[in-house]
Symmetry: C7
Subunit: 98 residues, 7 copies
Amino acid sequence: MSKIIKPLYDRVLVKRSESEQTSAGGIIIPDTAQEKTQAGAVIMVGEGKLLNDGTIRPLHVKKGDEILFGKYSGTEVKGNGEEYLILREDEILGVFEK
Amino acid sequence: MSKIIKPLYDRVLVKRSESEQTSAGGIIIPDTAQEKTQAGAVIMVGEGKLLNDGTIRPLHVKKGDEILFGKYSGTEVKGNGEEYLILREDEILGVFEK
Amino acid sequence: MSKIIKPLYDRVLVKRSESEQTSAGGIIIPDTAQEKTQAGAVIMVGEGKLLNDGTIRPLHVKKGDEILFGKYSGTEVKGNGEEYLILREDEILGVFEK
Amino acid sequence: MSKIIKPLYDRVLVKRSESEQTSAGGIIIPDTAQEKTQAGAVIMVGEGKLLNDGTIRPLHVKKGDEILFGKYSGTEVKGNGEEYLILREDEILGVFEK
Amino acid sequence: MSKIIKPLYDRVLVKRSESEQTSAGGIIIPDTAQEKTQAGAVIMVGEGKLLNDGTIRPLHVKKGDEILFGKYSGTEVKGNGEEYLILREDEILGVFEK
Amino acid sequence: MSKIIKPLYDRVLVKRSESEQTSAGGIIIPDTAQEKTQAGAVIMVGEGKLLNDGTIRPLHVKKGDEILFGKYSGTEVKGNGEEYLILREDEILGVFEK
Amino acid sequence: MSKIIKPLYDRVLVKRSESEQTSAGGIIIPDTAQEKTQAGAVIMVGEGKLLNDGTIRPLHVKKGDEILFGKYSGTEVKGNGEEYLILREDEILGVFEK
């Protein structure tokens, strides 16, 4: 059985999009042979951003959101033969509208 | 069908101006053969800047504004054969008056 | 017809002074053949500085002020065959008294 | 008899996971021959983060949590023939759900 | 007629001391052939430091103060054949007592 | 007679542990021939951390605490033929439990 | 007659200790032929640290205190054939107890 990561505070766990999917016509980064796509789906979110006064502000993005992020953002993690990424919400550029 | 990106927080989605348009006489950056123009139109804006106390302040720029920005500002994204840019509002130098 | 830029927040649009004018006896930067002058006139100002609490504080400088600024300050823009500069107000060293 | 370290403020003491354990199917970093794993168990936590106003905010992670952290995070310490790590809580990427 | 610069916010306009004057026995920087002195007189001061909450705090130094400042502080300006310097008040090390 | 240093604000005066002592089984840094140990005893503490609002917050560590700190932390001082270190409390990784 | 410097805000004027004095048995930096001592006496202090809210907090050190400071701290000044140093109070490591 696999273990799932619950991101801490303002971090989110993201599953990178496959190359096929990212060329589907949305406003997305070109998938050259060398570059990984910068789109993905949010798998799980942290409880919120820790503010200076010690309170927690819930994140804007939520599980299931398809997001766009910068090429060098976040930390890569791997599990069950798949690639994941852990990002701070502030590194997310935008959310694809449905 | 294309998917549209909703920028997060204080970010805006911008469509770069064509070279022809930027030489139209306004106060704009010279379009040398090597340099991309630094003017564009706002396509969509985030909900606002996240302040230190956790509240959101709506952005000053709005959809349809023609703006000027620094040469190395923002992150480029591409879709439907066109180029877009995602900027933080603080990277915008000014708005063309109509 | 030309388009005019309205600077955003605490930025100002400045018209650099001609070399002749800057040698007129005031406290100004020497105009060597290689260096651009660092004096100019304010053409238009932003609505004010965005403070941490989300409020706007109006700028101190105003349209028509002749100002002095650092040699590498701001971003150059060009239009109608003339050079302009967009500066943050904090980059302005002082205002010439009239 | 061994002495145990009580981490200060927002720091936590972590026991790195063995390589065998990290390949168990969870979302974890690949354990190449050269790289240390980035998963571990929390042994002891500090009393909390020192906020700007001088108050202490208790940490989110607790003793026994299995966590994920960045490859170059924290400071290594050694004792009783085993390796430990001292991290700030903000360096923790997430907590494995049980 | 000369134009005078009114420094902005927490900046001050300073007239560097002549070498003769700086060797007069006070606690001052040695005037080697290569180094400019770091002492001077305040010619004019800005209205005050802009605090985070948007209010202005008047400066401590005033017109006529003889001050000491760091070797690489401020921005040089020239006018009427004389050298001046524009400094932030925080760059001033101290004021000579009279 | 020797003079003792009272550390200022959030600093503490620390006596480095001897090599023999640090190999005593606690969770401590290995003492290679080249590396100094990173454990020590607190000799004297400052009155507390100066907060942004100008108040003082007493330190968590106290005289007599055995502490762990990073390899390049603090400033070395020497006296009476012995080595000491002055650290900010935030550089202390943890306190050995008794 | 000599002029004395009144340091601004949180700065202090310090007279470096002579080498003989620094070898007197207290906890002080070794005085190698190449290194200047890092101990000295406070000659004069500024009125206090300027806090974010615009108020002044009086300094902890006072005239006559013997202090210890880091090797590269502060700005050197010279006068009357003697060496002085201007430091921010936060650069002071500690005060010798009497």
